[in-house]
């Protein structure tokens, strides 16, 4: 999975790109773990994720749990159509946060 991280004014923003599925979850887990350690606040932008499967959904759910445990303020924003469809199918359309400050 491609991940681009940028920092702006103490806020970390991670763009997830391309595919998050069973073939890349192992690697993605490391990337996401690293990202969470970058600061006390992080936004995950999901607009670039063109493919996602149950393994990917599970990974994102687990990321949110980790963030809570680490007391990191973490948001999941701008899901791509595919991502939204997947989460809805699995009954978790409520997963995403409204982006208050559009970038």
């Amino acid at each position: 999975m491609r991940m681009n991280i940028s920092k702006a004014g103490g806020k970390v923003r991670a763009h997830l790109g391309e595919a998050l599925d069973i073939s890349s979850v192992l690697e993605a887990k490391e990337q996401l773990s690293k990202a969470l350690r970058k600061g006390s606040q992080i936004d995950f932008d999901l607009s670039g994720l063109a493919e996602i499967d149950t393994a990917g959904v599970q990974l994102l759910l687990s990321t949110r749990r980790q963030a809570r445990a680490d007391k990191v303020d973490c948001r999941f924003l701008r899901p791509s159509p595919e991502v939204l469809r997947a989460f809805t199918l699995l009954g978790r359309a409520d997963f995403f946060d409204e982006s208050v400050h559009a970038n």
């Binding site: 069973i22 393994a55 687990s62 445990a69």
Partner: protein, 727 residues
Amino acid sequence: MDMAAARATLVQESRELLSEMENALLEMERNGTSEEGVHAVFRAAHTIKGSAGLFGLEHVVRFTHSMESVLDGVRAGRAEMSAELLALMVDCGDHLSSLIDAVEQGILDRDPDSERAGALLDRLSPPVADSGSRALTERVIETRAEEIASPRAVLNDAWHISLRLARDVLKSGMDPMSFLNYLSGLGEVLAVELLEDDLPPLSELDPEILHLGIEVRFSSEATRQQIEAAFEFVSEGSLIRILPPHARIEEYLEFLRTMPESDRRLGEILVACGALTPNELEKVLAFQRESGEKPIGKIFVEERIVPPVVVETALRKQAVTKASSRDIRVVKVEAEKLDILIDLVGELVIASAAARVAALGEGAKASAEAVGTLATLVEEIRDSALGLRMVPIGEVFQRFPRMVRDISRDLGKSVELVISGAEAELDKSMVDRIADPLTHIVRNSLDHGLETEAVRIAAGKPAQGTISFNAYHETGSIVIEVSDDGAGIRRDKVLAKAIERGIAQAGQELTDREILNLVFEAGFSTADSVSDLSGRGVGMDVVRRNVEALRGEIELQSVEGQGTTTRLRLPLTLAIIDGFHFLVGKSSYVVPLDMVKECADLVESDLHGGIVRFRGEPLPVIQLRKLFSVDEPPSRRRSLVVAQHGSQRVGLVVDQLAGELQAVIKPLGPMFRNLRAVGGTTILGNGSVALILDIPRLAQIAVETSAERDLGRTIFFSKKQEVPSCN
């Protein structure tokens, strides 16, 4: 389906069950009735009934059903398992056994001895009067129960599907989302609830494993089968529950119980996806609270939903299936297939040895290592394969309690059979052949050895006599002892009879051992009256012959007034043995490794003819070069191989020690059968033939004759011609 083969299985299994039944009954006769024992008897009868039913063997079904009903009464506390009833059950077991024998003979439609059956059924009948009407009532009640069930249906008019897919489902390339998509094609997915309770945070997560559960509410006209088919490829290791629309509330109760999550938690999920209304959930949880740990069946009964009889039947059915599935830890294999396997393993052992020789010859280190690994594995396979053939001797022993009980009753004597060492194993092929000799020995004890109660009490012995079986392993053999605490063998009577039969001469001086061994002579019997049990025709000579045919030995020990012990020693068979290889001249010989006690350099000055001084003690020796007429000059430094069999030791003088090997025993052809010292041959890794020495015989030879020049003659005598002992 091959009916004949299936019937053969029925016969065999029934016989095994009948044997278990008999053991349980005899055990209860000895030590009092027990719940376990009654259940074992019931289970045997019930299982036979079921199998007989499958084959349409109505007469067997009817008979076992009667037994079953009585036993059921005992289990339910309505009747007592008295001594009378126990004896009756033993008789019924016998009749059942004859029915099974008849089935084996092809008599499938009737009882060949209906008179006996009738008599037994009459004795069984008083408690059985209700059985017919009860069966009818059961059927009626079952249908009514189904009608009663409907008012307890839930409102949910959609299917509820619960998915706890196997953890590795993602790695197998399957995805729960595709199942959900598929379902959408069959109907409408109304709601999905994800169970994330087992999902760990990122640091502890294995991302390739599925940690999520899924609950689905699904509306569809499809049949249950069509819905199940959606999950056809994922089933293994996955827990998939499908509840139909308007399922009964008890089904949800049961569903909650089988799920790992807490009832309330799962209950809330069910409400969340619309499977249950909040009201219905409360009802279910209330059920749970009030009933606590009570099994579902009981809850149903107390709610007066289902009459007790139906529940009991259902639960019993469950218990029987559980019991029979627990027994499936054994695989039946045709003995022939095992033999083929053992043969192949034998060839494998030889081939492996040859490979080893070749690799060492070439000096290539890598090959030698690989071949070494191979040899170790082959050894393990060999041990495993041989182990397959070993069965506990208890299998043979267990035939005897019944025999002892019956015969002792017939003779008016009180005798108990005590068994120990039943776990000692021996080769399967021996099991059948050892039964006859043991039977005869036991009958001898019962008939001649053990006294009547009156005589025993007068002699100050306990009124009840004891026969004991004992078995244990000892240096490559299995030893079986049959002992009794009876009158022992009367030496004077034996001698008198032997003289009468011309087997011995008056005035001959015989050692105690020699007198006892007279018992093994043909035509010998000291019975004052010939009973139909023993003493006519079948003597101890046949017993000894049978034992020796198994390459075994038999020995008698007896103290007059105290008792007799018959000891049999049999080899643990071995088609393949661990051997010790040495050379005399250029010829190779092998002896069983576990019979080799020690090897040492031979101090020539300590060797005197047939004796060598070894560790300060005299040890009988065999000079193999004399025995086998070896021409090559002896090596300058000869070795002594000290072998032991039982209590006998013998030293073998050899030229060169060659080390350990695995030997596949190839039997000698008929021409060589009478060679006393050789028990078989084997092919060495280099292709040459080695003779396998028969240590027990050699030990005997060494003891019997110590003069070197007689050894040459001895080897060619068969057992029948005794070598006159030389001093």
